[in-house]
């Protein structure tokens, strides 16, 4: 979320502006770029140490703001150095987006992001990647084989044999009279319906 909204001073007075939307978009891009290592959902190994991960785990908003400011201000060390190789070529454009949001890379200032500045950087990035960093697009809609159960295995869900057993409208019986609790057996516990279902031991 935008730095301004995390600020203690702004509590109750925070006004979300278009620049903040762009700022959020930038965070979204940073998140994807940091935690994916390739197309089609290749996720970074969870053991990798990434400073940006704290952004997603910090409970304290004030601390979150501080963490974010420091990480953004120290772009080279905290963000660039931890990018996966796949995204390294995009780093310079990210840096420029950051510059466009906080002139002079000073995240203490209000977000100054404009649509035109963002468009300019992203358009240049697009041309750059379309020409200089071409790659074969990852395959669309690949069918991954899911683990299937062995045929003999009676699974716990969703009661494979249940469907044909008793029609949805059949009702279970109760004893017709009230008996003391000591003599009570719920017909649910004993097989009184007499359906074809054999009860596993």
């Amino acid at each position: 979320m935008p730095l301004a909204s995390l600020r203690k001073k702004n509590r109750g007075k925070y006004i979300h502006s278009p620049a903040h939307d762009l700022e959020s978009l930038l965070y979204t891009a940073l998140g994807i770029v940091t935690f994916t290592t390739g197309p089609c959902g290749q996720i970074r190994a969870p053991t990798d140490h990434v400073p940006l991960a704290r952004w997603y785990n910090e409970i304290d908003r004030e601390q979150l703001r501080k963490d974010k400011i420091v990480d953004l201000a120290d772009y080279e060390e905290e963000i660039h150095d931890h990018l996966p190789d796949y995204w390294k070529p995009f780093s310079s454009y990210l840096h420029r987006l950051l510059e466009a949001t906080w002139p002079g890379l000073n995240p203490f200032s209000e977000s100054a992001a404009t649509h035109n500045a963002f468009k300019k950087v992203l358009e240049e990035a697009l041309t750059d990647f379309a020409t200089n960093h071409q790659e074969t697009p990852c395959n669309y809609a690949q069918v991954t084989v899911k683990r299937s159960r062995s045929p003999g295995n009676e699974g716990r869900y969703p009661y494979k044999r249940l469907r044909g057993d008793v029609s949805n409208t059949t009702r279970l019986a109760y004893p017709a009279v009230i008996k003391p609790l000591s003599e009570w057996t719920d017909p649910v516990d004993v097989d009184i319906v007499g359906s074809g279902e054999e009860v596993p031991a």
Binding site: S17, T28, G31, I43, H49, Y174, L181, D186, V188, P200
Partner: protein, 660 residues
């Protein structure tokens, strides 16, 4: 020294030094590391493959089994006991699901708001137990047969016995001899005053049934040592309330229940602290809400104590908070209230147990199959998102199909009543802006994303069931919105170029996408939203940007695409549509045009609006983080609550959620 040994050593050291806050998680990682846990992004599913169903048949039947009617559900869906959590930190934080608001109700509240006579199949008769010595002791005015030992089994039997007695006394359970072929069944008129001794002769033959049109549920302890499957966490409720027929299958088949089946929870204990029993109920209610999109509120009962000193607490959990009664001994009037609760739980219609009847649920699997919005019926294709947060919006997102087999996204959520503009208004305001735009561009473009299909304020408020309880938490309203188009999650980008294009589209005013020989232009992106509609989005995140793709029914022509478009006529394009080539299982290599679309206008508002004070729900670039904020309360808070409750103070309170 190996890492594990090091950790073990540290753990030992800590246990000596005594820093209780650092726990070792089951996987051997110290809890302090949790702050470096990576966020979990939505999985890269290609939902847009649904546009070309014939071509992606293999993929669709693999990813969306419910669409494929021919396969029995049982062989395609093998369910793990607990799913991987959507957010890593959520795993640890879900341990402390502590309500933000607790309200104290009385037995009057139950009588008037939860199970009033008009909600029950027949009005509850307060004197119904007076003539049943098997169950009720008139001199002591309490249950005569309450189990001495507070075990799951004993309580289960007692509850079911009580259900049976109440059913017979209210005329809900009747003999229906013609239903069964047993010839020696005589039609006996009265069943209440019959001599037990006579029946003993042909016990097992005399069967009675719950009369038509009345629900029939049963308490079952199958879950007490067999955690129900399907939720994110492994929890074993002592006793669950399930449909009686399902209960039969669970008990006799030795099968595992699913969370989807659980209709209410009962916790029993001899001496567990009251607060921890409530905590148990909250946690299990959270799992019910997670797995049951149709759940409006969840009911729990806690029974505690031994012998004559058993007390109970009735708990109602919904998206706004918790209402519970004081712990009271089960005797005198309170015992009758308890009987009313049991009566309601077992025989009342689902709606009064917190089920949303506008969703159709498969009886056996408990999955939602159809959802009604206004007068339209939508078939569920896939349940793609659910919030793990118990108190809050509780968003459930589905991919649905309408009658004309078009695909949409359905979002079901509980929004704060005074949250400002509703998403329905925002979306129609965007489309109106576009309609009224006189510029030639707008006339040419016309098409708009996101597309708004239908929305409904379901008219279900969290306040109605609170009745006259004071200090209600902020009211939440149930809202359902169907929008389009169906897009792929942002993580499904196929190349860096595509990803950058998507980002650019999200900023740009106009974008276009090619489908076959046509170029579709539409307004999308933040610039249009900000400048033309004068609206800010307010909740941009990985979950709220999708990639819209338009795959073709067949691979692109060998010749250049331009040539194809050059000679496209009506017939040739119609023919092209008719022909399809199944996609290979390893996926498509061809390039598919993409565009980025910003979705989810829940938090959108007019430019320059201060955020409403009551709606300072913390949002983060990821939904999972919101969880942190809402479930950030520690046991200390609960202790505080318990103190408030015991001192009979009305207490609901919004905690100072780091920054509200």
């Amino acid at each position: 020294m190996s890492n594990l040994a090091k950790i073990a050593d540290m753990q030992y050291h800590e246990s000596v030094v005594g820093t209780p806050r650092r726990k070792v998680l089951p996987n051997g990682v110290l809890d302090v590391q949790a702050r470096y846990n990576h966020p979990t992004f939505p999985p890269a599913t290609f939902l847009t493959a649904l546009i070309q169903q014939e071509r992606f048949k293999a993929y669709i039947s693999n990813e969306f089994p419910s669409l494929n009617q021919h396969l029995p559900v049982s062989t395609t869906n093998h369910e793990p006991l607990s799913k991987e959590t959507n957010a890593t930190i959520a795993n640890s934080l879900l341990n402390d699901v502590i309500p933000t608001t607790i309200q104290v109700g009385t037995s009057d509240w139950i009588r008037k708001e939860i199970f009033p006579d008009e909600f029950l199949p027949v009005p509850f008769n307060d004197r119904c137990l007076d003539n049943v010595p098997e169950c009720w002791d008139r001199s002591k005015q309490r249950f005569s047969n309450f189990p001495d030992t507070m075990g799951e089994h004993a309580v289960q039997d007692w509850l079911n016995h009580l259900v049976h007695v109440l059913g017979i006394q209210h005329g809900l359970i009747k003999e229906e001899p013609k239903e069964f072929s047993s010839a020696d069944d005589k039609d006996v008129g009265g069943h209440d005053d019959k001599d037990v001794g006579v029946d003993e002769v042909d016990s097992g033959m005399k069967k009675a049934f719950v009369i038509a049109g009345v629900e029939n549920r049963s308490f079952s302890m199958v879950s007490h040592n067999k955690a129900p499957s399907g939720a994110h966490r492994l929890r074993k409720p002592d006793i669950i309330l399930v449909n009686r027929k399902l209960c039969y299958f669970l008990t006799n088949g030795g099968r595992r229940p699913r969370w989807h089946h659980v209709e209410a929870i009962v916790e029993v204990s001899v001496s567990a602290p009251r607060a921890s029993m409530l905590q148990q109920i909250f946690e299990k209610a959270a799992l019910m809400f997670e797995t049951q999109p149709f759940r409006r509120f969840a009911i729990g009962l806690a029974l505690r104590g031994t012998g004559n000193n058993v007390e109970f607490c009735f708990v109602l959990v919904d998206r706004a908070g918790v209402c519970l009664t004081n712990w009271t001994p089960i005797s005198q009037y309170e015992a009758i209230s308890f009987a009313r609760i049991v009566f309601g739980l077992s025989y009342a219609s689902p709606k009064f147990l917190g089920i949303d009847t506008s969703m159709t649920v498969d009886f056996f699997s408990g999955n939602v199959t159809d959802i009604k919005v206004k007068d339209q019926e939508f078939k569920v294709v896939k349940h793609i998102y659910f919030s793990l947060i118990l108190f809050g919006r509780g968003t459930h997102v589905f991919v649905v199909q309408d009658k004309d087999r078009n695909f949409h996204v359905l979002k079901d959520a509980w929004l704060l009543a005074d949250h400002g503009i509703s998403e329905i208004n925002i979306l129609s305001s965007i489309s109106n802006t576009l309609k009224n735009d006189p510029s030639t561009d707008a006339q040419k473009y016309r098409s708009m994303h996101p597309r708004f299909v239908v929305g409904e304020e379901i008219g279900d408020s969290t306040n109605t069931r609170r009745g006259r309880l004071a200090n209600s938490p902020p009211e939440r309203l149930h809202r359902r919105v169907v929008t389009g188009p169906v897009g792929d999650p942002l993580t499904s980008f196929r190349s860096r170029e595509e990803f950058i294009k998507v980002l650019l589209d999200c900023v740009k005013c106009k974008s276009s996408i090619q489908y076959q020989s046509y170029l579709f232009n539409f307004f999308s992106g933040l610039e249009y939203l900000h400048k033309e509609c004068n609206i800010v989005h307010g909740d941009l995140s990985v979950n709220n940007i999708v990639i819209y793709r338009t795959p073709l029914p067949h691979p692109p022509s060998r010749k250049d695409g331009e040539e194809l478009s050059a000679r496209t006529t009506r017939t040739s394009s119609a023919m092209a549509r008719a022909i399809f080539t199944p996609a290979p299982t390893e996926g498509l290599k061809e390039s598919i045009p993409v565009t980025g679309i910003v979705i989810d206008y829940d938090y959108a508002r007019k430019v320059g609006t201060t955020m409403d004070k009551t709606s300072v729900r913390l949002r983060h670039s990821l939904d999972c983080s919101a969880l942190i904020f809402t479930s950030f309360f520690t046991l200390g808070h609960l202790a505080f609550h318990a103190a408030c409750l015991s001192s009979q103070k009305k207490s609901w309170q919004i905690y100072p959620q780091s920054g509200s």
